[in-house]
């Protein structure tokens, strides 16, 4: 027997009752069978049958329209076909439309005006169809925007489960304030919403677009090229932070849209003493289950081998350097192609390896990896790594230069 569920508040019942007519389950089915490949949620935003959802809910159809088709199901069991009009990869949104004669008289959910921002702690209600079990309403709180995120993302303290992606999140008055997008693994009630303004902008921008019936790679490429330009410019515009090393200046990013973590060896360790700092953008762009791109990550490890001596330090330093994985050729990207040399960075000698992998279906986009080690001292060193996913060739070169220039002596020599 199932455990009794928590009682839904009167407000939740009222909000759900007001929105259930516009709430949809969105399924991606195989083209010629009724087997479902993925399920998500969506909601009607116009009387003409426009539906908003997440891009990742319909990505299989977007990339392989010859193999998949889209269908919706309403809370009262009606079903029908959907077509894809446009998507916003950066915000993980998709605009769909019911095929003619479907549900056009059901009305639409409206967006909360930008002039009336929510306050931290406001009750909001997430809706969707978790795990294809049943339509559900989940009560939670608006907790402002996620800090250190490149794009605004609402932090929602409520449970969003798989299948609810693309569902609407409404305020007490039934206005759409956001769209379910993701939840944090291994965390309690930590979920994220795309602010409603972006969904509204996509709807208004593309409501009259022609249906997309061919693979969406060109549109994805176009959006990714725009995005990586902005990402690169904003990243390079930030000065490096100090790493606090007594000997070297090491590139550490501002925590504007990256989050950093550190760890080190125990104080009583007998061998190589090291401290590691790792920074990464926590939200990449979902292109397909195999390709998440459009993010930066970097790390550095600082080694003190004074207890080891030069020979032992060289061996362990080399082992750390050898462990850096660069990836292999696969369905989506080429193998890494690299250049390496000793680099003079304002007098500080470095060994640097710069590698690029090209995307096969997103022509002109690359993954960049830069590995840098200091090579001036027999028992001391720093190993840095920078990764940029989904950047143009020119921006890859700019980012590589920017990263290399982050290394120098602490005191000019």
């Amino acid at each position: 027997m199932a455990a009794p569920t928590a009682p839904v508040s009167v407000s939740a019942r009222r909000v759900y009752e007001g929105a259930r007519g516009q709430l949809l389950q969105i399924r991606t089915l195989l083209k010629h069978q009724d087997s479902q490949a993925s399920v998500g949620s969506g909601f009607l935003v116009s009387a003409d049958g426009h539906v908003l959802s997440n891009y990742h809910v319909i990505s299989q159809f977007a990339l392989e329209p010859d193999s998949y088709r889209l269908r919706y199901a309403t809370t009262d069991g009606q079903e029908g076909q959907l077509e894809l009009l446009d998507f916003d990869l950066r915000r993980d949104l998709a605009l769909l439309r019911l095929l003619p004669a479907g549900l056009k008289s059901r009305g639409a959910l409206a967006f909360r005006p930008q002039s009336r921002p929510l306050a931290k702690g406001d009750r909001i209600y997430s809706m969707g169809n978790p795990h294809d079990v049943a339509f559900a309403v989940v009560e939670g709180n608006y907790n402002g925007l996620v800090e250190r995120s490149l794009d605004p993302l609402i932090y929602y303290s409520g449970s969003i489960n798989a299948g609810m992606s693309g569902g609407p999140v409404l305020d007490e008055e039934g206005w759409v304030v956001g769209v379910n997008v993701s939840a944090m693994f291994m965390a309690q009630q930590m979920s994220f919403l795309v602010p409603g303004g972006y969904a509204q902008a996509l709807f208004e921008r593309s409501r009259d677009a022609k249906p997309m019936n061919s693979p969406a790679w060109p549109r994805l490429r176009e959006q990714l090229l725009d995005y990586q330009d902005e990402l690169t410019q904003r990243f390079i515009a930030q000065p490096w932070r100090a790493a606090g090393h007594p000997r070297y200046l090491l590139p550490v990013p501002q925590e504007q849209f990256m989050r950093c973590w550190g760890r080190g060896t125990a104080a009583d360790a007998k061998g190589l003493d090291f401290q590691r700092s790792q920074c990464r953008m926590e939200h990449g762009l979902f292109v397909s289950p195999a390709v998440q791109t459009g993010f930066l990550e970097m790390s550095h490890e600082v080694y003190d081998g004074s207890r080891l001596g030069a020979a032992r330090f060289a061996k362990q330093y080399s082992s750390s350097f050898r462990n850096e994985a660069l990836g292999q050729a696969d369905k989506d990207r080429t193998a890494p192609f690299c250049k390496e040399d000793f680099v003079n960075r304002a007098g500080l000698p470095l060994r640097a390896v710069v590698c690029l992998r090209a995307y096969r279906k997103l022509a002109g986009l690359h993954d960049l990896t830069v590995l840098v080690t200091t090579v001036d001292a027999p028992t001391e060193g720093a190993l840095g790594r920078f990764d940029a996913h989904g950047v143009s060739f020119e921006n890859a070169l700019k980012l590589a230069t920017h990263y290399l220039e982050g290394f120098a002596w602490k005191q000019p020599r």
Binding site: K315, F321, F337, R360
Partner: protein, 323 residues
């Protein structure tokens, strides 16, 4: 007068098992005790064949039998007579024989292995073993933290030592099987020379690649190891099958080539067909001989990769993403 002759009975490995000095002509060959050369081969008739002096020299004459004989690829039937040009190898039943006379040229005398041993005595062998163990110890020492207990070294040295002794022992047993001697010291010496050389190459090549900033030198490291291993195999096998050295060299070279071709075929989409993606050796600053370049110089070198990356990206690849 005809030169002195012998008939040699050959084993399956081509080695001579028995030498019969010809005292008179004709020489009868068969299973019968009445024959001049008595052979224990159930595929022979009682008196199977005879060697006799003909007008054109020595001739082989086949007597009545079921199996006849062979001269090269030619099957000889009962009643046939063929002239032999010395040294001549021929078959009777399942037995391989060779006739040769004093007029035939002999292969040069082989140096006894004992002479080689004298050049490289037990002291040399012990020294080589000590050098190899020292290299193993140094390798382990460099990977351990100061104060590591001695048992941490024991495994790293005793396991390879056990394998080395087992390897030399195995080759000695194989030699015993084919050569009827047990040259353990010889195989041990050859294995030690090979392993020490490979170890030293493994240390030197990355140092050199780093010092000169020539990462492609690591191709040598990658090539020399299989070549060295194949060379070592050939060296051991040469003791066991000294007559087959050329054939063995051909076989091992073919296997090496096949391995190389397969490796290259697997790495068609890689930047380099051979060697690691980048040089990971970071020896002390003393070994940095090459001049460093400006960051922009290194970054600009990437431009030469753009077209090749685009070409590679245009290829299909069905491998699933590893990430």
């Amino acid at each position: 007068m005809e030169a002195a002759s012998v008939i040699e009975l050959l084993g399956r490995d081509g080695q001579v098992r028995l030498v019969h000095k010809v005292a008179h002509w004709p020489v009868t060959i068969g299973r019968s005790a009445a024959c001049d050369l008595v052979l224990d081969d159930s595929h022979l008739a009682a008196v199977h064949a005879e060697l006799l002096q003909g007008t054109e020299g020595i001739e082989l004459h086949l007597l009545p039998s079921l199996n006849g004989g062979w001269l090269g690829q030619r099957h000889l039937l009962a009643g046939e007579t063929v002239a032999l040009q010395g040294p001549a190898r021929f078959g009777l039943g399942a037995t391989q024989l060779r006739w040769r006379s004093a007029a035939d040229l002999l292969a040069p005398e082989q140096l006894l292995h004992r002479h080689g041993k004298a050049r490289f005595g037990n002291a040399g062998l012990a020294l080589l073993l000590a050098l190899w163990l020292a290299l193993l110890w140094a390798d382990q020492w460099a990977g351990l933290n100061p104060g590591a207990p001695w048992v941490d070294y024991s495994n790293a040295m005793l396991s390879p030592l056990g394998l080395l002794l087992g390897w030399a022992g195995l080759w000695s047993l194989v030699t015993q099987l084919f050569q009827h001697r047990f040259p353990f010291g010889l195989h041990l010496r050859r294995a030690l020379i090979g392993l020490t050389a490979l170890h030293l190459i493994g240390l030197t090549v990355p140092l050199l690649a780093y010092a000169l900033s020539q990462p492609r030198l690591m191709v040598l490291d990658m090539l020399l190891f299989p070549m060295g291993a194949a060379g070592l195999l050939w060296w051991h096998a040469g003791v066991v099958w000294p007559r087959a050295k050329r054939w063995l060299a051909g076989l091992l070279a073919s296997l090496l080539l096949l391995g190389l071709v397969l490796n290259i075929a697997r790495r068609q989409e890689q930047q380099h067909w051979l060697g690691p993606a980048y040089l990971s050796a970071l020896p002390p600053p003393l070994f940095r001989w090459a001049e460093p370049v400006a960051p922009a110089t290194l970054v600009n070198q990437l431009r030469s990769l753009q077209a090749e990356l685009a070409r590679q990206a245009a290829k299909d690849n069905d491998s699933a993403a590893a990430e």
